[in-house]
């Protein structure tokens, strides 16, 4: 369904009729069949006399009356001057709406409402009723669009016009010096004259914060306001010279001082010269481009809309055109984001309870709604964070869209939930639907199906926990609408908002898909002229370009085309295309440098010409969308070549490492195998297996001495004891290993002489290879220590228990194979 189709006869013309219509709409909403109906935006504005003139002559006049005339005719809008008997054009005259309609037609463009004379006038500073001219222009565009209905936007073919020929020139870029030069030139002026407002801690804090004491932070914020190539065109200068913005003496002198400071900075920056060997297209800035319509958003039931286009100040304007405007006050730690948006870290954007009430009134009227947002969650570790909320604190709300880790949370208060909107609908944590990247999220609620969440146009498949939606009768009209936090300030959401809209109907999957496809932010078609390189008249490489965020541009949809409809071409090679910026090729983001294709008019079947690549890329932002100059370079285009060969990378000289020991400890499996080999006990011996399995991870895992610990030595001892125990307890095995030693004799006999002891010690020492190695302890030393051990273990003499002989043998064996003699290799 087209977004601008309207059911005109149902439209009321005053507040009373609004209420009546809402009742009707609510009643209809409860029906399961019947024709689709059109909801009615709040149109109440400042008091205006009831209209008593001729009835609208046509449906179009009626539409004009509802969508535009009723809103502009009050005395606090255009009616003060353009009313009856006032200045021409009299589009706000109150005596005859048909006459006003005729006057209005002279200043509007219904096929392109944004290009209307009325809009341009207001945008230029002509009596805007809000504090920001662009906001009035936006609202006026919305009203005219609503009036135009089908005539506006949709289906409009893109009219590509040739841009002015401009050769890529040398360009100055901001030095990457952390603001050192800036600190000596421009920064002192800013901190002296602008710090009352343009610092975060100021009582009347105004973004951007280019007057901070911190030079680096100030430098970062000031770059987009400085034009190094043309200091006089810097926003800092223009703002003073032409817009008379808070001058500190007289504006001309102040502007000159500012220009002088910027010239001092620019004078020390050498321009980047374009490499003369490059095969170059013509150059463009973003604003040289043609606005890409990119399709229409579905906004038929929008009742509040924030697009964050102003880029400065502390107010996010509601540009839905539905009165009263629910403007949000920014507070705390926030930043305006390039390409439209606000980033919140420790801040929020909150409306008044009075203005917020329109959400209550209009949504209760339909019983359903949709929260739509383009957001960039700052991370995926924040929990219980409020993205969009209409609430009174942490325990009372009408609705909230929030974040918990990788999930979106959706609370809605109804007669089947509590006052906090619990049970909450949360997207599956396993699905990780929420990502810390730009996402389009829609939270739908209707009384029958309850809540559902769509991310990037796709239903998340998470079902309404209550099984139904319920009634919104309990909604409270004293709550406040807030972005990025709870109204109580204790549920911070860190992230970026690029757009937020509230609809008082749910969005269908098709409508959600439509809005997702349109995207967010302003897009331009940039036509890079290449006719001087190929024998094709009016030949261009086209890109759709948008500011992606505060730090980059998005380049997509590269096409080759000719604006000369009669032109044909074929067999033109195009290879190695790169995007140039301010005289140089950025290192990162050159997604087309491996491109190799052939241009032929036969392939130029699409509206934009011949597609030459499927992927898009981002290119760093340097000076800002008004100053950054783009161009293209080619390795091959037609007969022009500049094939690049990459230099052989330099290999840095290796660095010597600190000396390390060339010996180490035996690791777990090595110890096990070694002890098995020395004792002759199989590694599969049940008791050995049991012990080894238990202590395996306690034994050394790496050879490094530095990792050796006492607990590992304990484990080694345990394993050694186990092996020696198994050896001595196995009569057959011990007889093989110790053929002479008498295990049945008492300790005084078995250990009574050196020869008797040698019958135990010599086989052990031999098996551990402890013979004639200068790197091992001498056998005599080992034997001396083991004899001492035997002496101590046999002090009981004749009173020792009979099994003492075997026990001492085990101990002696374990002392040797559990020692450094084996452990160290």
């Amino acid at each position: 369904m087209d977004s601008n189709t309207t059911a005109l006869p149902m439209r009321p013309t005053n507040a009373g009729k609004v209420f009546a219509a809402l009742l009707v709409a609510a009643a209809l909403a409860g029906c399961s069949s019947g024709a689709d109906t059109q909801e009615n935006p709040v149109t109440s504005v400042a008091s205006s006399p009831d209209y008593t003139g001729p009835a609208p002559a046509t449906d179009d006049v009626q539409s004009f009356k509802i969508e535009v005339w009723d809103k502009v005719r009050p005395d606090n809008r255009c009616g003060a001057c353009h009313g009856t008997g006032g200045e021409t054009p009299g589009f706000a005259r109150t005596d005859d709406v048909n006459a006003a309609y005729e006057e209005a037609n002279t200043v509007v463009d219904l096929t392109s409402p944004g290009d209307s004379r009325m809009v341009a006038k207001v945008a230029g500073g002509h009596n805007c009723w809000e504090s920001n001219d662009a906001v009035c222009a936006e609202i006026l565009t919305t009203w005219i669009t609503n009036w135009a209905g089908d005539a506006a936007g949709g289906g409009k073919s893109i009219e590509l016009e040739p841009p002015a020929e401009k050769t890529p020139g040398a360009s100055k870029s901001f030095p990457d010096d952390g603001g050192s030069l800036f600190g000596q030139t421009v920064h002192p002026v800013l901190t002296r004259y602008c710090a009352d407002c343009h610092v975060a801690a100021a009582p009347t804090s105004q973004s951007p914060f280019f007057a901070e004491e911190d030079v680096a932070a100030s430098y970062d914020a000031a770059k987009s306001k400085i034009n190094l190539d043309d200091p006089a065109a810097s926003r800092f200068v223009v703002r003073l010279a032409s817009e008379f913005h808070n001058c500190w003496s007289d504006c001309a002198t102040d502007a000159a001082e500012m220009r002088s400071a910027i010239e001092a900075l620019a004078g020390q920056v050498a321009p980047t010269e374009v490499d003369p060997s490059f095969v170059l297209s013509r150059a463009l800035t973003l604003t040289d481009g043609i606005v890409a319509s990119g399709g229409n958003r579905y906004e038929r039931n929008v009742i509040a809309l924030w697009e964050f286009k102003t880029g400065q100040g502390d107010t996010a304007f509601d540009t839905s055109g539905v009165e009263p405007a629910l403007n949000l006050t920014l507070s705390g730690d926030y930043n305006w984001v390039g390409g439209w948006g606000i980033a919140l870290r420790e801040g929020k954007a909150q409306g008044t309870t009075t203005a917020s009430r329109k959400l209550h009134d209009l949504i209760k009227g339909t019983g359903e709604y949709a929260i739509e947002a383009w957001v960039v969650p700052g991370n995926v570790v924040q929990e219980e964070a409020r993205i969009v909320s209409y609430s009174a604190g942490t325990t009372d709300r009408n609705f909230t869209l929030g974040q918990t880790l990788y999930s979106y949370d959706f609370y809605n208060r109804s007669d089947v939930t509590d006052a906090n909107g619990d049970p909450v609908l949360t997207t599956s944590d396993a699905d990780e639907d929420l990502q810390a990247t730009l996402q389009h999220v829609v939270a739908n609620f209707d009384p029958v199906n309850g809540r559902s969440i769509y991310v990037n146009g796709i239903h998340t498949d998470d079902m309404e926990p209550t099984g139904t939606g319920g009634s919104l009768a309990d909604w409270d009209d004293t709550f406040a609408f807030v972005l990025g936090n709870e109204v109580s300030g204790d549920r911070q959401f860190a992230g970026t908002f690029r757009m937020v809209a509230i609809h008082n109907r749910t969005l269908t999957p098709e409508q959600i898909g439509q809005n997702f496809e349109v995207g967010v932010g302003e897009k331009f078609y940039l036509l890079f002229g290449v006719s001087h390189l190929v024998d094709v008249p009016e030949a261009y490489v086209l890109f759709e370009v948008a500011q992606f965020d505060s730090y980059s541009y998005l380049f997509t949809k590269p096409h080759f085309l000719s604006l000369d409809e009669s032109a044909t071409w074929g067999g033109i090679p195009l290879e190695g295309m790169r995007i140039g910026l301010n005289g140089a090729e950025p290192r990162a983001g050159q997604a087309y440098k491996k491109l190799a294709t052939t241009l032929a008019s036969d392939a130029a079947s699409e509206e934009l010409g011949q597609p030459i690549a499927d992927v898009g890329t981002i290119i760093e932002l340097q000076k800002g969308p008004e100053s950054d100059e783009f161009f293209l370079t080619f390795e091959v285009l037609g007969a022009n070549t500049n094939v690049r060969t990459e230099p052989v990378p330099l290999v840095s000289a290796p660095v010597d490492l600190a000396p390390s020991p060339d010996i180490g400890v035996r690791t777990f499996d090595e110890l096990n195998a070694s002890m098995s080999q020395i004792t002759g006990v199989a590694m599969t011996h049940p008791e050995v297996v049991e012990t080894f399995t238990t202590i395996r991870q306690q034994l050394p895992t790496v050879e490094s001495f530095g990792a050796f610990s006492s607990s590992q030595q304990v484990g080694i001892s345990q394993l050694a004891i186990e092996y020696c125990n198994a050896l001595v307890e196995d009569a057959g095995l011990r007889a093989q290993v110790f053929p002479v030693f008498d295990f049945t004799a008492g300790v005084t006999t078995a250990y009574g002489s050196a020869a008797a002891r040698d019958a135990l010690l010599d086989p052990l020492i031999m098996r551990i290879n402890n013979t004639a190695f200068v790197s091992q302890p001498h056998p005599d030393d080992v034997k001396f220590e083991l004899n001492n051990l035997i002496d101590r273990l046999t002090v009981c003499g004749n009173s020792c228990a009979p099994e003492r002989t075997a026990t001492v043998a085990k101990a002696t064996c374990a002392a040797l194979i559990g020692s450094a003699t084996l452990t160290i290799q």
Binding site: P377, A591, K593, S775, P777, R792
Partner: protein
């Protein structure tokens, strides 16, 4: 009865035992300080210790000592590698950390580890370890549970029984014992253990990263190059993480620009944790390649398993890619050949051996020169890993 009871019986003398252990340890350390005076016998013992992990029998030691005295230390090293412990202990612990994400040596024996051990035992050219249609299983005569695509019981039983891997492994092919076609096999990359560890869940980039770490001795940190074309970076990589595209342009791109076009080689592979087996879907890209594809819709959408090595230019030319290969292809096998033919692969195998045998990284000019010489010998021997072990052990056997 376990030793715990017996050990308790020794408790009255426990402190004496500990003192004895410490005393002997001190004697040993004092002797080690004299190792500069080591001779052929010392060298033989160290060769055996380092290669087999266990002390040599006296007879073996004598043989090795004689070889060293005769000026043939490589023969002595080959003798040490005859010990079963070289396979059961040294090689098992050499390869096991490559087979799991935790890089733990305590993982069970599996087909990846067994295949590495078998290839080294049989002197199979090791540069095919990432590409060959090869597999090692337990000998039929051992009565083991048969090899299964869906579990690891075959190898766990071998381990439980302490089957001698020197004699108990038999060479076969993956295409014989699994349902993978020969063209889809890629050495250890397509073993069940590797699939379970690196193809499971995720986006298959893990297989690329761990192959790079384990067989090229470089983690992604070492191969970062943000100047490569980002045209093959998939849609799931956010270009503005947390709303800041500088993170992408300065960090993410540096790995993904080169990694994504190569990890595309695995586009038809997955590991099904429910069935416990590798999945191969020729001609059909696995859904995991489209995870989070709305993160950046203008990113690359994988159409097939075509891979391209963007690191053949730029800073990663230092990895020494083989100029006789095209630097692109389809599937895991040809990517494995690309890796296997590189200088970095050969150097990596020798580096790993060096650390296993010398207990340190190559540290100075002498070590680096030795490394290059050993790499040369390794390649000249048709990538015979035992040559790398022997040459390295001889270099580190002391004077």
């Amino acid at each position: 009865m376990s030793s715990i009871v017996n050990y308790a019986g020794w408790q009255p003398s426990g402190s004496l035992l500990r003192r004895a252990l410490v005393g002997i340890a001190c004697i040993a350390l004092a002797a080690i300080a004299q190792s500069a005076e080591a001779g052929p016998r010392e060298q033989a013992k160290r060769l055996h210790d380092r290669l087999a992990g266990v002390p040599p029998a006296e007879q073996v030691l004598a043989t090795m000592e004689a070889d060293i005295l005769a000026g043939n230390p490589i023969a002595a090293a080959e003798t040490a590698m005859d010990n079963s412990a070289f396979y059961n202990v040294t090689l098992r612990n050499f390869a096991t950390p490559w087979t799991n994400r935790d890089q733990t040596v305590f993982a069970p024996l599996n087909d990846y580890t067994a295949t590495v051990i078998g290839m080294i035992r049989d002197d199979v050219p090791f540069n095919t370890v990432l590409s060959a249609d090869i597999l090692y299983v337990g000998d039929n005569g051992l009565g083991l549970p048969p090899y299964s695509m869906t579990d690891n019981a075959h190898y766990e039983e071998m381990e439980a029984r302490h089957v001698d891997l020197k004699t108990g492994l038999v060479r076969t092919t993956q295409s014989t014992v699994t349902d993978l076609p020969a063209a889809a096999t890629a050495g250890v990359v397509t073993t069940r253990a590797a699939a379970e560890a690196f193809f499971v869940a995720g986006t298959n980039r893990a297989m690329f990263r761990f192959t790079l770490m384990n067989h090229m001795c470089n983690d992604l940190e070492q191969v970062k190059d943000g100047s490569r074309a980002p045209d093959r970076i998939r849609q799931d990589v956010s270009r503005s993480p947390g709303g800041d595209s500088r993170v992408f342009l300065n960090n993410c791109i540096e790995c993904h620009a080169g990694m994504d076009p190569m990890a595309q080689a695995y586009a038809y592979y997955d590991f099904d944790p429910e069935r416990g087996r590798i999945e191969y879907t020729p001609g059909q890209v696995q859904p995991k390649y489209f995870n989070n594809d709305a993160n950046f819709p203008f990113g690359f959408r994988t159409p097939d398993d075509r891979w391209d090595n963007y690191w053949r230019q730029g800073t990663n030319t230092r990895l020494g890619w083989d100029p006789s290969l095209p630097g692109s292809g389809n599937g895991a096998k040809s990517l494995g050949e690309e890796f296997g033919a590189s200088d970095a692969f050969a150097e990596c195998q020798v580096k790993k051996v060096f650390e296993a045998v010398c207990f340190r990284q190559p540290s100075d000019a002498a070590d680096r020169l030795a490394l290059q010489n050993i790499v040369g010998a390794f390649r000249a021997s048709q990538y015979r890993m035992k040559t790398a072990f022997a040459e390295t052990a001889v270099y580190c056997m002391g004077d």
